[in-house]
């Protein structure tokens, strides 16, 4: 009996040690170029990333979109996430962060106090961004107004409340490889791929997920249920239920104006995405459109909602 108990104890200790080892927050070892960040390119990345859509106050318009005090509640199947303050306020925002802290957060999903972030913060996409672009983005964020706003923590049920467990999720889904392999050397398409799969994090909503929230890469951009609960996020591959009938110029015009080829308008969460895209340089909209016509054409990955 005593022996059995000892064996059990050893098992628990080994299991615990294994879990602890496997789930430790990891930071990519590569050093950062010591260059000064360029806030102009940083703003371009900020727009492509749509940071303000989540980090500005809900419903903010105009210049208020640059006040990144956080507080938006994301109600997901995993629980309620509260979007943090990323304004340069030193107490309640990220004003005290170094560029290294920022890059670690964006690319490795690790906080300055060495804890995992939940992937509601889409670092699994940002992991594909170049160091230079991240440094520039930090330089741009530093120019925005500081907002003093202490945001409460997330409300998550067990087991999602165990932050350390995210180390396992990251082992499965966090890496910097492209979401899909494209057999092309076309610079425009590759720029589009970089913007869509990285900063733009389009796949976070337009690609469906498995039970533990990992993206189904074989269903890349083929649509998904709306994470906010109602309706669907559309298929944006060149499949017949997706963008088959859209020309590249139609996609570009949609990002510029908010109008689809049938002159229905953009709606829902995509409105703020479109408004950010409209502020990008035209060659970036062109690149994104070229990429969307180059990805594998798929049927809808999601079921149609009941009528």
């Amino acid at each position: 009996m005593r022996r059995l108990f000892a064996a059990f104890l050893i098992l628990v200790i080994c299991g615990g040690a294994g879990f602890w080892f496997l789930t430790a927050p990891q930071i990519s070892p590569n050093s950062l170029p010591g260059t000064q960040g360029d806030p102009v390119n940083g703003e371009r990345m900020f727009l492509a990333g749509g940071c303000s859509s989540c980090h500005a106050a809900p419903g903010a318009k105009g210049d208020d979109k640059l006040k990144l005090g956080g507080g938006l509640e994301l109600k997901t199947p995993f629980g309620i996430f509260r979007v943090p303050n990323i304004s340069p306020d030193p107490q309640t925002g990220i004003g005290g962060w170094s560029t290294r802290d920022f890059v670690n957060a964006m690319r490795d999903g690790v906080s300055p106090d060495n804890r995992h972030y939940y992937p509601a913060f889409p670092y699994a996409s940002y992991a594909r961004m170049k160091s230079g672009d991240l440094i520039d983005m930090k330089a741009y964020l530093d120019t925005l107004p500081a907002v003093s706003n202490q945001v409460a923590g997330h409300d998550l049920p067990f087991p999602f409340s165990v932050r350390r467990g995210l180390g396992l999720w990251k082992r499965l889904y966090l890496n910097n490889s492209p979401a899909i392999e494209l057999a092309t050397s076309n610079a425009e398409v590759l720029r589009g791929q970089y913007l869509v799969e990285g900063a733009g994090h389009c796949g976070e909503c337009h690609t469906s997920r498995n039970l533990i929230g990992g993206p189904r890469l074989d269903q890349w951009l083929a649509g998904a249920p709306n994470p906010e609960g109602k309706g669907v996020i559309p298929n944006v591959t060149p499949g017949p239920e997706g963008l088959a009938d859209w020309k590249i110029s139609d996609i570009v015009y949609y990002f510029e104006s908010g109008f689809r080829p049938d002159f229905d308008s953009v709606g829902g969460s995509m409105v703020s995405v479109q408004e950010n895209m409209a502020k990008l340089p035209p060659e970036d909209r062109q690149a994104i459109a070229a990429y969307l016509k180059a990805v594998p054409a798929l049927a809808d990955a999601h079921e149609k909602p009941k009528k």
Binding site: K230, P234, S257, D262, D264, G268, V271
Partner: protein
């Protein structure tokens, strides 16, 4: 007897005409109105994109169509039209009727002004049209749910 019959007839006609008058199918009606706005946006957008040459009569038609829609579409969201016919109207319309009405009032005011401005050249049409169509996504952002 004849008086009685004619009274019944009058009542019957009265009932019939009442049912015919109340929107039989508000969902179909508001969809048709929205489609007409889409067609007007297509004509206006075509001119802005340079796919259709600018024509003041077409510009007027587009703005007047949108104006008529702005004045009428709000009447077709009764409480009993929340579901059915694949409606993309968000439940938020009825939860927040005040916010929804505010969006409609802005659509009315902007399209009143644009229609009254009778744009005679492409540049003035661009400004008038732009101020009206920003209302499309202004309302679709919070009050429409895409289903396909």
């Amino acid at each position: 007897m004849i008086k009685h019959a004619s009274l019944s007839l009058a009542l019957a006609i009265g009932c019939l005409s009442t049912t015919a008058f109340a929107a039989e199918n508000p969902i179909a009606t508001r969809k048709a109105i929205m489609k007409s706005v889409g067609a007007a946006a297509g004509a206006g957008g075509g001119m802005l994109k340079g796919e259709i040459p600018f024509n003041p009569a077409v510009a007027n038609l587009a703005l007047r169509t949108m104006n008529a829609a702005a004045h009428s579409v709000g009447d077709y969201f009764p409480e009993d039209s929340k579901t059915g016919m694949e409606t993309e109207a968000s439940p938020k319309i009825w939860e927040d009727m005040a916010g929804f009405s505010e969006k409609l009032a802005k659509f009315k005011a902007d399209s009143d002004a644009a229609a009254a401005s009778k744009p005679a050249d492409l540049d003035s049409f661009k400004a008038a049209f732009g101020s009206v169509v920003q209302n499309c996504k202004g309302c679709h952002e919070g009050y429409r749910v895409k289903k396909n």
